[in-house]
Amino acid sequence: MSNATLVSTTVNGDPVQFACPADESLMTALRNRVGLTGVKEGCGTGDCGACSITLDGDLVCSCLVLGVEAEGREVATVEGLSADGELHPLQQKFIDHAALQCGICTPGFLVAAKALLDRNPNPNETEIRYALAGNLCRCTGYDKIVHAVQDAAKEMRKKKRR
């Protein structure tokens, strides 16, 4: 590996360091150097959303971000979604609603859906559909995914009220 740069970043709350070439995507770095293969590669061109992560809270396709750009930033992936041994409500609802078939797009959908619910806890169907329009699923026709997100949002609002 020539021209590698050492990158210090935070991934799912933990300090992480990795060295990567200047032209390597953050997706590749997360997958191959940090070991987070829940970040999926479907296209490498920002069209499918399978590699969705948040960077300082913003939803991005990690294939369109360079590894070196993670320096000093907060990265969140699907692997950080469940805390304290419990599934995030979105994760549980995706299972309950059979919102995945092959499951390759699921990590990206979960990250994108969480980003939506973080800024809009009560989205309507149209808002959900547009918020998830950057994530391709070829198996489900999105029907059960939208239902799962609606149900998770409902449960999260209920939990908050308690």
Partner: protein, 755 residues
């Protein structure tokens, strides 16, 4: 042990309810390992060099510079995968598709490959390989390829199915004809005859996970392959044949699969990865880019279809003829033959004839895509039926019901139907509230039917009971959409234990007998059958052990609700023995308790569906939006309704994408212009409404639980359902799919100019 596969009507405890899938948590937490997610010590990165030309002679490949680059561990061309196919032309075609042998046959055809220590080095090495091409004339259009003047792609191809056999080679690999009756007499009886020509463009399965594998070959001929595939046993056999390995020494493990839809039933880069590993003597991970997936794997045929149908004034179809031209890419296929099987299969037409032409063009080798070949034929036939119904003045649904195939109807491809569900789906559509919902301005409603025959095939299943009474169900059919949950449910049902007590796993090729691909909607039908039989096998062992524990004759023991019960005089008062109790003592009553089954599952139940589509067409732009969609399909028996609905919704959505947007666009140079998800647009979440589903259950008499197979039929009706809806919204009959905004707008303009 022989088992009875006949359907028996009974009350189910587990089957037909909804359980969460066993692989759910792994898949929502990022732990599930797909094709690209495995690693091996010392692994290299494999990359493939592909032809930039549609058709070219390869004069010379110079790999010397690439080999000298530090970090490059192997460079291969076709010479590193010698032809061991021994006259098996089908296998030779697979080999040539994996790596060009003197000629590049399509844009994206593999020409050479490298394995290097990292991505950067591998990419650099590809650029150092010098290939001298001599461009040859090419043809990518199915109709043009059939012309006398077209460049002939393979000199060896003499059209099969034509008498007398042609004396000259051509791009037409086969002619197929099916049907019965006298179509000329049928048309003479008709009051109205409609004749139309249709075109459908090439589409890709579009699985989100690119092809990926991790190959490792040792100098002694032992090897391992981790791969995303719909059938690791078949991949093992094909790769072993191509590489000259012993089948038992090549262990293939199927990773979690990120979508296949038929595209992962074919071997692509796996033999290349194995050859790279063999030469480098190190593991090689080869992951395709999306560009490679589009240019060199999948797609389904583009087609050109003539349909002629005649009917009497009462709506009886008296004759039907379809002539269908399907391109199979650069190698011969049997895609038009499948079209002949399916085109008129929903109907009882006493005079019908289907002619298929399989055609070779300079495009990637066509692969199966969900009910392969049926959607295009259905687009043509189901559109024509609507035109015919309109001309006669009957409703499209009544027209279909009038001619519907029933038990006893002879299918155009030969068999006589047993109990089938097409009439039930049409009646359910007719009665559905969707049909009575009001349409708004610029909206139209369309209905269409679809058929897929479904298959069975070779299947092998193990069922092992642990000493705590939990059950490992070991399957060999790759789980493409939740089948592990269905199989665990079937095992639980049969054994009479809770679902949670069963764990279903997919075995690697060294752990179980051969299983055919998960294709043809066979997974739940055939693996379900083998699971029932393996469970019954285990139950007979459980009964023997209970008899031993009690000291009573075996024939006095029955199995009910998960426990052994002693019957008969003398020992009727013995308390039942549960599966757990028997399992706990197994070490002292004869050893482990297991059931096993191997079967060639026959009697797959035919799948039929009817769809309702509401579309809104923007007259300014020609853009069509699906505003409501309903799928009605006969599942035979829905083991886990969640995943049956999922198949209905997913197939319908793929069909909608095909109907409205998806198409391969080739330039004059014969190169694919849109090999990416930006320009090859599959439906996104905001394109669609909820997809309503209705599961009907007309049991398949040749499956113990009545299962048919549900995976594929759902993609068959949408093209015509959308086309019929657009016709009703605009008055314009679309005959070219996809019915993309420019095509619809042009058709609207043409109509206005003509009007």
């Amino acid at each position: 042990m022989g088992h009875d596969q006949k359907y028996v009507d009974k009350k189910y405890d587990v089957v037909g309810t909804r359980f969460n899938r066993p692989d759910g948590i792994d898949k929502v937490t990022g732990k599930a390992r797909y094709g690209a997610d495995a690693s091996a010590p010392g692994q290299l990165v494999g990359r493939v060099l592909r032809s930039p030309h549609a058709h070219a002679q390869i004069l010379k490949i110079n790999t010397k510079k690439a080999e000298k680059l530090p970090g490059v561990k192997s460079v291969i061309t076709f010479e590193d995968i010698p032809d061991l196919t021994g006259g098996d032309q089908g296998l030779a075609d697979i080999l040539e598709n994996c790596m060009a042998r003197g000629r590049a046959l399509y844009d994206g055809h593999a020409v050479a490959a490298v394995a290097a220590v990292d991505e950067q080095t591998a990419a650099k090495a590809l650029k150092l390989i010098d290939v001298k091409y001599k461009k040859l004339p090419h043809v990518t259009d199915v109709d043009e390829a059939m012309q006398e003047s077209a460049p002939v792609i393979h000199d060896r191809i003499i059209t099969r199915g034509v008498e007398p056999a042609p004396t000259k080679p051509s791009n037409i690999s086969a002619r197929t004809q099916m049907g019965y009756g006298d179509v000329d007499a049928g048309f003479a009886e008709a009051d109205v005859i409609v004749e139309k020509t249709y075109k459908t463009e090439q589409t890709h399965q579009g699985y989100i996970e690119p092809h990926a594998c991790l190959a490792s070959v040792n100098p002694d001929g032992t090897a391992e392959l981790w791969v995303t595939t719909q059938g690791h046993f078949v991949f093992r056999n094909v790769c072993a044949s191509l590489l000259g390995l012993d089948i038992a020494k090549l262990k293939v493990t199927s990773s979690e699969i990120g979508g296949g839809f038929g595209g992962k039933t074919h071997v692509w880069a796996e033999p290349v990865a194995l050859a790279l590993s063999r030469k480098a003597n190190r593991p090689v991970k080869l992951v395709m880019s999306r560009d490679e997936v589009f240019r060199a794997t999948g797609p389904t045929s583009s087609t050109s279809i003539d349909v002629k149908m005649g009917a009497t004034k009462d709506g009886t179809i008296t004759a039907a003829v379809a002539e269908m031209r399907y391109q199979g890419g650069a190698f011969p296929g049997n895609w038009a033959m499948l079209a002949c099987m399916t085109a008129f299969a929903c109907y009882d037409i006493k005079n019908n004839k289907s002619i298929g032409w399989d055609v070779i063009v300079n495009r990637p080798k066509v692969a199966a895509y969900r009910a392969p070949s049926a959607p295009m034929a259905a687009f043509a036939v189901e559109s024509t039926i609507d035109v015919l119904a309109k001309e006669i003045g009957v409703s499209p649904i009544d027209m279909r019901l009038k001619n519907v195939a029933r038990e006893g109807t002879v299918a155009p491809y030969g068999p006589t139907y047993g109990p089938i569900g097409i009439e039930h789906t049409l009646q359910a559509v007719k009665d559905h509230p969707h049909m009575r919902a009001k349409l708004k301005k610029n909206q139209g409603r369309g209905v269409a039917c679809g058929f897929w025959f479904n298959i069975g095939g070779q299947t092998c299943t193990d069922l092992n009971i642990g000493v705590d009474g939990t059950v490992n169900l070991t399957l060999g059919t790759v789980d493409v959409g939740g089948s592990r949950s269905s199989m665990a449910m079937i095992a639980a049902e049969e054994l009479g234990i809770p679902y949670e007590q069963v764990r279903a796993n997919i075995a690697d090729t060294t752990s179980l007998g051969h299983n055919d691909m998960t294709e043809g909607s066979r997974g739940t039908f055939s693996s379900g059958m083998a699971t029932v039989f393996a469970a019954r096998d285990a139950i007979s062992v459980l009964k023997q052990r209970a008899a031993k524990m009690w000291g009573v004759p075996e024939e006095d023991v029955v199995w009910e609700n998960g426990q052994a019960i002693a019957t008969g005089t003398g020992h009727g008062n013995l308390p039942p023995l549960s599966l757990q109790e028997i399992a706990a003592k197994s070490g002292r009553t004869g050893g482990p308790i297991a059931g096993h089954n191997e079967v060639t599952a026959d009697g797959a139940g035919m799948g039929f569906a009817s769809h309702i589509c509401d579309v809104e067409v923007d007259p300014e732009t020609g853009r069509s939006t699906i505003v409501r969609y309903t799928v009605v399909q006969d599942a035979g028996k829905a083991i886990n309704p969640d995943y049956v609905e999922g198949q209905f919704q997913g197939g319908a959505t793929q069909g909608i994408g095909w109907a409205l947007n998806e198409e391969y666009i080739y330039g004059k140079d014969g190169c694919l212009q849109n090999p990416g998800f930006l320009d090859y647009r599959i439906p996104v979440c905001s394109d669609l409404p909820f997809i309503d589903t209705k599961i009907l259950e007309v049991p398949n008499p040749l499956h113990p639980y009545g299962v048919r197979g549900v995976g594929e039929t759902s993609i068959v009706p949408p093209l015509a359902a959308v086309g019929n809806a657009i016709a009703n919204a605009t008055g314009v009959r679309m005959t070219h799919a996809p019915m993309s905004p420019p095509r619809v707008l042009a058709a609207i303009d043409d109509q206005e100019n003509a009007g």
